[in-house]
């Protein structure tokens, strides 16, 4: 399995933060099974920081490892920091991804961003009410 780094394989075999958060503050879902990857991220926000994060992923080994790594990196970050996570940062943390799997990395960062946006739009709604 030389196409993947040790770190990718570790996160694939022992993914961190798998699951759902029923009362999540924000949810982000990207991709679809037709394309081969789908990720759902759930976040809890406390004092402007991501206090808890869980994910569910349909996809290849890289997609699962990326989801796990994104969840681990984002946990404890401020929302502003978390929004800046991009595919290269995630791939670097995983000691690299094969070129044709970089889109998985993108998808992970995008799902997290969507969850944050979901949280922020809910906050904005609450303030106007």
């Amino acid at each position: 399995m030389a196409v993947y780094s040790e770190k990718v394989l570790d996160h694939f075999m022992n993914p961190r933060n798998v699951g759902e958060i029923p009362d999540a503050d924000g949810v982000g879902i990207v991709g679809n099974p037709v394309c081969g990857d789908m990720m759902a991220f759930y976040i809890k926000v406390d004092n402007g920081r991501i206090s808890d994060i869980k994910f569910k992923t349909f996809g290849c080994g890289a997609a699962i490892a990326v989801s796990s790594m994104v969840s681990e990196m984002a946990k404890g970050m401020t929302l502003e920091e978390a929004k800046k996570l991009n595919r290269n940062m995630v791939a670097d943390e995983l000691d690299g991804l094969p070129p044709n799997k970089m889109h998985c990395s993108n998808l992970g960062a995008e799902a997290l961003r969507k969850a944050i946006e979901d949280y922020e739009s809910k906050q904005a709604q609450e303030q106007t009410q």
Partner: protein, 390 residues
């Protein structure tokens, strides 16, 4: 850790007698078979013996066998070689929707050169209907190509019927009929006259021979343009010094397969049937792809719903089991399998494709080991999947 190799469609282990036969042509008889001096003698004799062995496997004459470096090359040679050579006669060819990429992409190349290609669909089992193929034949059709069996879903095509229907519709010589028998040569009985084919591709690494040697049968009288120009090797139809050792290996494998094939098939069918039975009854939402009975011995292909093939493949690999998948992520090109698409498998379900291809080294215990290991993997991945609701 137990090792189970269930990917014989990718490569087969070499038979000991194949390796034995090859070694002298790597160590001592490394000469060029074209050489007139004595260094060319042994390689030339060995190659011509291999030609006889391959011819006998498929009921052809030795002069009708042209060695290539692979099944893909044989397919390229057949499709492009025939179409290009006979374009004064017409610029239309017919292929099925589930052909190997070496056939489909050859057809695409021809389209770029101004040829027309008709792609005949298949039914939900992957079967090609002879009438559909005959109906696609036109006055300017020079070649029809339908594979003998599909490597991804195991379905065996009624080639004799298809060839007959095509010949009834065509003229005396045209269109020529080609079959890609890479998945069946050395595995199913093949007689080119009984099948009624003009061209047939095969590869040694599908029946316990080495990589690097394939062959194209070209019936006497069929006009074909060489793709590799150069010297007079292979009667001028395929230039380049032949890979003698690999060809000797192919020939030896062909000779063994000719006598062992039936016994091999009898051995594999129960393994195949047990794996299909257990996969589809013991795990929910697992669907067989391809034909339930008209399929290659030792070929099992399924789609597992709610999860993706590569992730299953990786977990299986970590537990010593080698399989294949037609999922988008497994293909380096990141494209959904055209075969699963053609038989109507929904795109999301096709992502959960797994292909098990068995060989003579496998046992019923291997099947049972897979059934010990795979269900927990599927459970685990489904628990992780946003699509699965327990």
């Amino acid at each position: 850790m137990r090792e189970v190799y269930f990917d014989h469609a990718a490569a087969t282990p070499l038979l000991p007698e194949v390796v034995e036969a090859m070694i002298p042509f790597l160590k001592e008889h490394w000469g060029n078979p074209l050489s007139l001096h004595r260094f060319g003698e042994k390689p030339r004799e060995a190659m011509e013996k291999a030609r006889v062995q391959v011819a006998e496997l498929i009921g052809a004459r030795p002069k009708e066998i042209y060695f290539t470096a692979s099944g893909s090359e044989a397919n390229n040679m057949a499709i492009k070689g025939v179409a290009l050579m006979n374009q004064k006669r017409g610029k239309h060819i017919v292929v099925s929707a589930i052909e190997h990429h070496s056939v489909l992409n050859s057809a695409k190349t021809l389209e770029k050169l101004g040829f027309e290609v008709t792609i005949v669909p298949v039914d939900k089992y992957g079967l090609v209907n002879p009438d559909d193929v005959a109906a696609a034949v036109r006055k300017d059709t020079t070649l029809v190509s339908v594979m003998h069996a599909n490597n991804e879903i195991g379905t065996i095509e009624p080639i004799a019927e298809i060839a007959r229907a095509v010949k009834e519709r065509g003229t005396r010589h045209f269109p020529y009929f080609h079959t890609d028998a890479v998945a069946t040569a050395g595995i199913l009985p093949i007689d080119v006259d009984e099948l009624g084919v003009d061209l047939l591709s095969l590869a040694g690494n599908q029946f316990y021979g080495p990589h690097g040697a394939g062959a194209l049968f070209v019936r006497r009288g069929v006009r074909i343009m060489p793709l590799i120009d150069g010297g007079i090797q292979e009667s001028g139809r395929r230039a380049g010094t032949e890979n003698v050792a690999a060809i000797v290996g192919l020939g030896t494998a062909a000779e063994v397969a000719k006598t062992q094939r039936e016994e091999w098939a009898r051995y594999l069918a129960p393994l195949r049937d047990r794996l299909i039975e257990r996969l589809t009854t013991e795990i929910d939402h697992v669907y067989l792809t391809g034909h339930p009975t008209q399929r290659l011995p030792g070929h099992v292909s399924v789609c597992v719903e709610f999860i993706e093939g590569e992730s299953m493949l990786l977990f299986l690999s970590m537990q010593g089991i080698a399989v294949s998948s037609g999922s988008t992520c497994t293909s380096r090109a990141l494209k959904a399998s055209h075969v699963l698409t053609a038989i109507g498998v929904p795109a999301a379900l096709a992502q959960g494709s797994l292909v098990f291809t068995m060989g003579q080294g496998n046992t019923m215990e291997d099947v049972d080991y897979v059934m010990d290991v795979l269900p927990p993997i599927i459970r685990r991945l489904r628990e992780m999947s946003p699509l699965y609701k327990a």
